[in-house]
């Protein structure tokens, strides 16, 4: 199977790119919420900003799980094929480790807002 360097780099960095996407979303959401005055708004009794953040974090975690599964399948294929070249195996392992880092960063990212609230 042909693999381009772009897709390989995407696999390696994918976990943290998902984190970066969540970070960007949070930054924009916070900036708009504070600038446009809807930081404390609620929908059905739930704060709009925490709700948005949690939903985005859940989506990010789902993305991470998908990526980890993909990396695991790649790793299994490498083991099965007993290929001499280890690039795919290293990439699969590194991708999973990066996803783990990203999962910690995402949990750590959302927690303070849930604890300390959404004050501007």
């Amino acid at each position: 199977m042909s693999v381009s360097i772009g897709s390989r780099l995407l696999l390696l960095t994918g976990g943290l790119l998902i984190w970066a996407g969540l970070f960007l979303f949070s930054y924009i959401l916070a900036a708009l919420a504070c600038a446009r005055g809807f930081a404390d708004s609620a929908w059905l009794g739930v704060g709009v900003v925490p709700l948005g953040l949690v939903l985005a974090a859940v989506a990010a975690m789902a993305g991470l799980l998908r990526l980890i599964r993909h990396a695991r399948r790649l790793g299994a294929r490498v083991q099965h094929a007993r290929r001499l070249d280890d690039t795919a195996g290293v990439s699969a392992d590194v991708a999973r480790m990066v996803c783990l880092l990203a999962a910690i960063a995402i949990a750590w990212h959302v927690l303070p807002v849930l604890i300390s609230g959404t004050h501007c």
């Binding site: 693999v3 790119l17 916070a30 070249d85 590194v94 910690i104 750590w108 004050h119």
Partner: protein, 849 residues
């Protein structure tokens, strides 16, 4: 891919080339790579020469900035000292920080990579040696001129991060701030040139078989650092452009009274500034990951974890910028995210530290000077990292913000995290230059003096800061509890300096006892310890593991005797093998550029252009610009030589072409990286555009009628699309060898691109929008001006391609120049459409148009 697999299967066969080698093969290789002699040596471009000069220049700037630090410490040794006045003191701390960060720390890590990386990858040189030489000369000449401003009372004085409004035209009327903005702006460009070289070099010139999974950690590090420079440096280039434009033409980007915001500068600056800390630290970490296994005589523990940690630090560090802005009053909601990210980045950093400790624990550590410096690194960097976590806690940061606690922290991180590893590296890799180790005795004394001096200087500063002493004050009252602490810090600073001076004495003494051979004194496993000449390695090794010299103890004699790939010069010129980016399968033979005066001329011209522009000497500035442009033109003209030789046999049954175009070619890759840089600068400008929206107290845009009616941007966008279509036709004409058609389509496409930009800017002008009126208008004009810059480059490229076509050196086969220019051109056109969409589309979304 099938071809790649076939090549890999060939790689697994033993001994790509047989013995004995033909007579004269080695002599021909030596002739091709013979360095220029005498004063012509300045025209050398190969990485072993340029890398050494680059390292020397960076160390020179470290010494100069260190002298400034000693002057400041002397001033602060006693309370109410009047040795140095406040004006000079302001210049001293600004220049110290600026020179250390921009002229020492980043250049030295790039310089080390320029010197070491090709040898470590098994390449004969980097893919663009003249680009490295250009980066060196632009940096050295520009840096010296910038430092010289101190002697003419023209040095900047706004601190190394140059916050407006202090640095705006109103409060800093001299040319000091302009020197900083233009000087640093173009030094950043030099750093980006270096990054492009390192990224393409790492991905495309690895020895056959050195797949990503076998790549040395140092190469992984430089790949991550290169990417960080690509995404981290553009915001500060955008920021310096905006502030210089504000100072020169009064476009109010940072003037609150006209819709601007000084905090925008802080955002853009720290979007660069925080990744920069890791851009400085990660190469040092890469060096440590190389030195620790060699010194401990065992492989690095957790190779894959360390790669993951490097990627983790690289990406997480891009989300920390506002942790330098906790005290600015940005919303608490946002502070949460930055505080969390600041703490999260400690995890991958810690992973690397544990990997190094585990390696040392597992191995049998050699007691030597590099080991002592590494131990100094562990002690100081871990301490600095922990105070960093303390500063990531928002209330704590509020307490110590802008105090000496922060000064202590940043020096612990930077000296601990970069200077100690750098000095370990100097001692570790010195045998590659001198043919022997530096003096163990002097090195041990130097390390002891440096570490004790560093601790005595900076440990008390934590207390000084906690006791309330602010940074950047030129003196203080006696009796505030700071007197003894400052005196101790000054004594420590001089002790640290004496240790550094001792290292330079050692380097000077050793340079008189140089040996020609390069012994593997540490019994290391990486390729830079192979026997090397001016040509690099005699034959390019086949790599089978992460530590090739440990995996195959016979590799050095095999390579030396010419048994591996390309055991000589196939074309009579300088060459290296270009391999595929993932599996490092040989793809083609790159003809490496040889000595030339053009990079030196281009570098000097670029430096002259920027610096004369700063002092408003327009004629010399224009002359510098023309020299730079002509030199670059001539330089590029020589690079696209076409298939000057039939495909060559490099051994092991592999035959490689000597020319490649399209996405296989290394130039195409360099252009892609450059476009990523361009896109990131554009993103920074778009960030500024939207930033004004979030802070606008009233409607946004403030005066909707200053945006032109829709036909203007629509016409401009259509012309962009038309130009792209014409480029496609030009490419088809090139395929058919239809030269007239090629020239006609290129010419019309250039005029169409220019017309699109002129229509966009005319529409804006006709609507009555003035860039000086409001930050919104200024940001619109900034986006259009940025596009204008690209259109200007496109016009030069079009002229270049037309000239090549007329000269008969552009055709369906010899086409790299066309492919690369076309890529830039297409990007420019799509950037034009995007800019129009941002300006007019988003204003419409905001309900204003």
């Amino acid at each position: 891919m099938q071809r790649e697999t076939q090549s890999l299967s060939r790689l697994r066969k033993a001994a790509p080339n047989s013995l004995p080698r033909p007579d004269g093969e080695l002599e021909a290789l030596e002739r091709a790579w013979a360095p220029p002699k005498g004063w012509r040596r300045l025209s050398a471009v190969n990485n072993t020469q340029v890398g050494l000069w680059y390292i020397g220049a960076a160390l020179l700037f470290m010494l100069l900035a260190g002298l400034l630090a000693l002057m400041m410490r002397t001033q602060l040794a006693l309370p109410q000292n009047d040795l140095i006045g406040p004006t000079l003191y302001n210049q001293l701390f600004t220049m110290h920080g600026t020179v250390m960060m921009f002229l020492f720390a980043v250049p030295v890590v790039e310089a080390m990579a320029v010197y070491i990386l090709p040898a470590m990858l098994g390449a004969r040189d980097l893919p663009f040696p003249r680009l490295s030489a250009y980066a060196l000369w632009a940096y050295l000449i520009g840096g010296l001129m910038f430092f010289g401003t101190l002697f003419f009372d023209a040095a900047p004085s706004g601190g190394w991060f140059m916050y407006p409004p202090l640095t705006s035209y109103e409060y800093s009327r001299g040319i000091g701030a302009d020197f900083w903005l233009l000087g640093i702006g173009f030094i950043e460009i030099s750093a980006i040139a270096g990054a492009i070289e390192l990224i393409v070099g790492t991905l495309r010139t690895r020895a056959p078989g050195m797949s990503l999974g076998k790549m040395p950690i140092y190469a992984w590090t430089m790949l991550v650092v290169g990417a960080m420079i690509v995404f981290g440096f553009p915001p500060v280039i955008a920021a310096t452009l905006l502030l210089e434009i504000e100072r020169a033409f009064q476009w109010p980007f940072f003037i609150a009274a006209r819709g601007g915001d000084p905090l925008l500068w802080q955002h853009l600056f720290w979007l660069f500034g925080h990744p920069e800390v890791y851009i400085i630290f990660l190469p040092a970490a890469g060096m440590i990951s190389t030195m620790v296994p060699a010194l401990a005589r065992t492989g690095l523990v957790g190779y894959r974890w360390v790669v993951a940690a490097l990627i983790g630090v690289g990406i997480l560090s891009l989300g920390l910028w506002a942790h330098h802005m906790f005290a600015t009053g940005i919303p608490q909601l946002s502070l949460n995210f930055f505080s969390a990210a600041s703490m999260a980045v400690a995890i991958p950093t810690g992973m690397q530290i544990f990997a190094w400790i585990a390696t040392l624990w597992r191995g049998n550590v050699q007691r030597s000077t590099p080991t002592w410096f590494l131990l100094a690194f562990f002690a100081s960097f871990v301490f600095g990292g922990l105070t960093g976590v303390m500063l990531a806690v928002v209330p704590y940061d509020w307490q110590v913000h802008d105090t000496y606690f922060v000064v202590a922290h940043l020096h612990y991180v930077l000296i601990g995290g970069m200077v100690f590893p750098l000095f370990a590296a100097l001692y570790y890799w010195a045998p590659l230059v001198y043919g022997r180790k530096l003096s163990e005795r002097i090195g041990t004394w130097a390390c002891a003096l440096m570490f004790s001096g560093f601790t005595v200087a900076f440990l008390p500063m934590h207390l000084t800061g906690l006791l309330g002493m602010p940074r950047r004050v030129h003196t203080y009252q006696a009796g505030l509890g700071w007197d003894a602490l400052n005196l101790v810090s000054t004594l420590g600073a001089f002790t640290l300096a004496s240790g550094i001076a001792l290292v330079f004495v050692d380097l000077a003494l050793s340079s008189r006892r140089t040996r020609p051979e390069r012994p593997n004194v540490w019994h290391a496993g990486s390729l830079e310890w192979l026997p090397q000449g001016a040509y690099g390695v005699r034959s390019i090794p086949r790599v089978e593991g992460q530590y090739p010299l440990w995996d195959n103890p016979a590799l050095a004699p095999e390579v030396q005797s010419g048994q591996h790939y390309l055991p000589g010069t196939a074309t009579g010129a300088r060459e290296t093998i270009v391999t595929s980016p993932i599996d490092a399968s040989p793809q083609y033979l790159l003809l490496v550029a040889g000595p030339s005066w053009l990079p030196l001329l281009a570098g000097a011209g670029t430096a002259a252009f920027f610096l004369f522009l700063t002092v408003k000497l327009m004629l010399p500035a224009a002359l510098g610009g023309v020299i730079a442009l002509v030199a670059c033109w001539l330089w590029l003209w020589q690079t696209d030589r076409g298939p000057v030789h039939a495909p060559v046999d490099i051994g092991g049954g592999i035959t490689l072409p000597v020319y490649a175009s399209g996405s296989v070619g290394h130039s195409w890759w360099a252009m892609v990286v450059l476009l990523l840089v361009s896109g990131t600068i554009l993103s920074a400008l778009v960030f500024a555009f939207y930033y004004y929206w979030t802070i606008a107290p009233g409607p946004w845009p403030p005066a909707p009628d200053t945006l032109p009616a829709w036909p203007w941007p629509a016409a401009a966008a259509l012309l962009c699309a038309g130009s792209a279509r014409l480029l496609r036709r030009a490419r088809q004409a090139l395929d058919r060898h239809a030269h007239r058609g090629l020239r006609a389509h290129l010419g019309i496409a250039a005029l169409t691109s220019l017309s699109a930009w002129m229509i966009a800017i005319h529409g804006q002008w006709q609507a009555g929008s003035l860039a000086t009126a409001h930050a919104f208008d200024a940001s619109v004009y900034a986006l259009l001006s940025y596009q204008g810059l690209f259109v200007a480059v496109v016009l030069i490229m079009a002229a270049y391609l037309l000239a090549r076509s007329l000269a008969g050196v552009l055709d369906g086969i010899r086409r790299v120049s066309f492919e690369v220019c076309r890529l830039f051109w297409l990007y420019t056109l799509w950037q034009g459409v995007f800019v129009l969409a941002v300006i007019y589309g988003s204003a419409a979304l905001a309900g204003a148009t």
